[in-house]
Symmetry: C2
Subunit: 502 residues, 2 copies
């Protein structure tokens, strides 16, 4: 997503630094205790967080509604997802095989003697999580970054988003209750507010910090990532930054399914007023009467969409400015826009088109306009479509809208799409991200700072761990996951064989 959340606060830096020092000392002390809590204890803790959130659901929906303009149905759905995410990691911990245990047993008869070596993933230490403005629950205080880090065994410091500060404090209250109810160490999770860049950067560069999760603008994510690389000991920053999620509409499906496509994409483009990282910001197709007809139908659909309020003033201003700047680019034509004039913080949904030649000549067209805007790039032929695809930077998703016939005749284009993004979708809209073991919500730079990881789904835990190999250890010294006899009953690779045997 594209949004400026950070602004410099020259004053109060010393006070901020001393607060950050105290918080990170607490986080480090908590980590020393929390990392020893067995998986079952961490699982119960995560479930308790979910229960405490459930207890204050009504208050959360009311408060977040006021702060973010999001409707109750969406907020309730997001609370369900947030509780579900905590439960997903609880289940992952109970099953236990996520630690990637690998064991090679000793062979004293080999020359030289072969030692016993056992490896698993272990938590790295305190993690700093930045709340995201567009997901006040699922990507904020008790969101995916927080629960995945807690699942790994790391303590967490949340920098709440100032655009939903009260919601963030309420959620943190639920976490604090869960810490007490589940008997977790004090300061296992801490919460800071403050809209300035100084607190955020101070958290990232503090020596105790070992990992960072962020969802926001490219400028904000890159600044944190750069600060982390300049540390004496650099640390990973997992920032999800920007994506325009190219969708390719192939000829046969435009011919056969134009009306249905127009309906579903008008919905996807304007879902949540376009304030999703997976919003389809660019639509690609080869010129044809079927494309003209699709765009005309899409225009009709878009004109009927009701403008609605955006998350906050800053996002609304950024959308208006971004949209106006985009509309002023050479070659751009408006395809359709909501007829009802937007008022106040409302966003006007707009779809536009541009020729591939104009698109390729102007890098500005590949920049994200965060909100209900999408740009159709009209290509002369397949070769030009490939050129346009090659011009994109890394993306979270790319989508193939195609009949089986289209798939057969476009393997080259589809293969190209696979180099572009973390998730490749066939005949679905990109909005709507499943939270499961097979999800990749990530992608090559600049979609994220590290396309080797995902911020959604159970693999998100892998961001907060590193492997440690124990050589020749006595059984009583080993973590339970690596002990002889496999008392935890997890899947392990023992002498290159995947097994639950000891």
């Amino acid at each position: 997503m594209s949004e400026a959340i950070l602004s410099p606060t020259p004053a109060g830096v010393d006070k901020d630094q001393s607060l950050v020092n105290k918080v990170m000392e607490n986080a480090q002390s908590a980590f020393q205790l929390y990392k020893r809590i067995p998986a079952e204890g961490r699982a119960l803790f995560l479930e308790t967080i979910g229960k405490e959130i459930e207890k204050i659901r009504e208050e959360l929906v009311a408060t977040a509604g006021q702060e973010t303009n999001l409707p109750p149905a969406r907020l309730n759905g997001e609370i369900n997802r947030t509780i579900g995410q905590a439960g997903l990691f609880a289940a992952l911990l109970r099953e236990g095989s996520w630690v990637e245990a690998a064991i090679d047993t000793e062979d004293p008869n080999r020359v030289p003697a072969k030692p016993d070596t056992r490896k698993m993933l272990m938590p790295v230490g305190p993690v700093v999580v930045f709340g995201a403005s567009n997901f006040p629950f699922a990507f904020s205080t008790a969101g995916g970054d927080t629960v995945s880090a807690l699942a790994s065994g790391s303590s967490v410091v949340v920098k709440g988003h100032s655009a939903h500060a009260k919601t963030s404090e309420l959620v943190f209250g639920a976490i604090e209750k869960a810490i007490e109810a589940a008997g977790m160490p004090p300061y296992t999770v801490q919460h800071l507010l403050g809209s300035g860049r100084s607190v955020g950067t101070a958290l990232v560069v503090h020596p105790h910090t070992r990992g960072v999760g962020f969802t926001g603008s490219f400028a904000g994510g890159k600044a944190l990532w750069e600060a982390a690389q300049k540390r004496e000991t650099p640390i990973p920053v997992f920032a999800e930054m920007s994506s325009i999620n190219p969708v390719v509409f192939f000829p046969d499906t435009l011919e056969k399914n134009g009306a249905a496509l127009a309906k579903s994409y008008a919905g996807s483009i304007t879902l949540g007023m376009g304030q999703f990282c997976t919003n389809p910001g660019v639509l690609l197709a080869i010129q044809s009467p079927a494309l003209d007809s699709f765009l005309s139908l899409l225009s009709t659909e878009i004109t009927a969409i009701e403008p609605a309020k955006m998350l906050h003033k800053g996002i609304h201003e950024a959308y208006c400015n971004g949209l106006n700047h985009m509309l002023a680019q050479k070659g751009l034509q408006v395809v359709g826009q909501a007829t009802k004039a937007p008022g106040g913080m409302e966003a006007q949904p707009v779809v536009a088109s541009v020729s591939a030649a104009d698109f390729l000549a102007n890098p500005h067209f590949t920049e994200e306009v965060f909100g209900p805007f999408s740009l159709c790039v009209v290509c002369e032929d397949k070769q030009q479509l490939a050129e346009v695809l090659k011009s994109f930077k890394g993306q979270l998703t790319t989508t193939i809208m195609a009949t089986p016939e289209d798939v057969k005749t476009n393997t080259d284009i589809i293969e190209l799409q696979q180099t572009l993004a973390g998730r490749i979708i066939l005949n679905n809209v990109p909005t709507g991200v499943e939270v499961n073991a097979s999800m990749v919500h990530g992608g090559p730079w600049p979609a994220t700072t590290d396309g080797r990881f995902t911020s959604v789904g159970s693999s998100a835990i892998k961001r907060w761990v590193r492997p440690i190999c124990f050589q020749n250890f006595l059984d009583e010294m080993l973590p339970v996951e690596l002990k002889r006899g496999n008392p935890k009953g997890i899947w392990r690779v023992v002498n290159n064989v995947t097994t639950k045997e000891g």
Copy 2:
């Protein structure tokens, strides 16, 4: 390891750049073809590389002997390991489960409908490998970085090490024969020489490069890593840079096993004239008569070691300078040194000691002296031992020399050691790295640039891949590892259950 291998070459930069451009274009074209080669084809290719190396073993040993001063037994052992590594990855590819396939099947009845999502690891693209001077085979042209990248499906460009240029060319000749014999695309592996920094940096910053493997000095690794972070699209650099591999000798084992410990550590400190990344460069213990006795025995052992030639002139000079600088530090006392005076490029094995107080007051003591040198830090008590451990930066290994009694009474120290390194060893020497699925040859910065990965063992393949999620794909569009019915018969996580079922 600590060694200056890079020197600026202001001349010839334009020529270098045009060569690098051509090589990387070739690597990119080769990748487009090579990534489609099925796992079995890549496995056969890796085995063929091993066979072609075997065919020229005698010539390789003779040439490398001349270039590196390493004895035939060591070089033959290293060739065995190199061929074994290629075979390990061939076996990994045939078994196939390394791709971390995860599948969540569709549920059309859920509201909204749940799509089918399938994830696996896929190769990132051309990889640049820098040969290491201290392993002319196992960490160079056809070494672990190269074969792990080839196993992943990435093409490879090797920057051969100038200190064993002829050996590197011979090994590359074997790879070229294997490319032809196994029917791989031309340019799947390419080879460049040149001692200048310009070629190396140009390879790292070229837009087609997607990953880098390096083993060498901290300065060299950090420079490449920084260049990679400054790219428009940053890429991972896996640099193994420096480690002094702290060994803690606990009181009871010093009391009971002093003589055996002195013998095995004199051997480990001087193995290969100390030119291993896992060389035990610092020994920690609490002051006691048993420690005095151990040091006296260690001194006797060290005096009997024959000086031998180091790998090349640069390394020998760096050892002499580093040693002299270390010996000049306040508080350092020589415990023992080889009595036979070294000649020419020979290194003199030396063991020294220092009080923990002096050690803690002078950060220079934690710097690596690459060669047969080790420093014993004498602590007053357990608390000071903990302080010394806390003063270390990230390490490849740390070792616990302890009886069961020591283990019982020192859980706090042992836990501290686990935060320090990628491999934690009980009652073995750190030299000698197993090449298997449970190895971690890596560790927190500055041991490596990325402690989440290993450069030795089958997990090294994970450095050259990223996950891709395919949503709602038709079976014929999916990679074989993700197809319905599981035709490859690999372990997959299907709806959160690890299974070989379809």
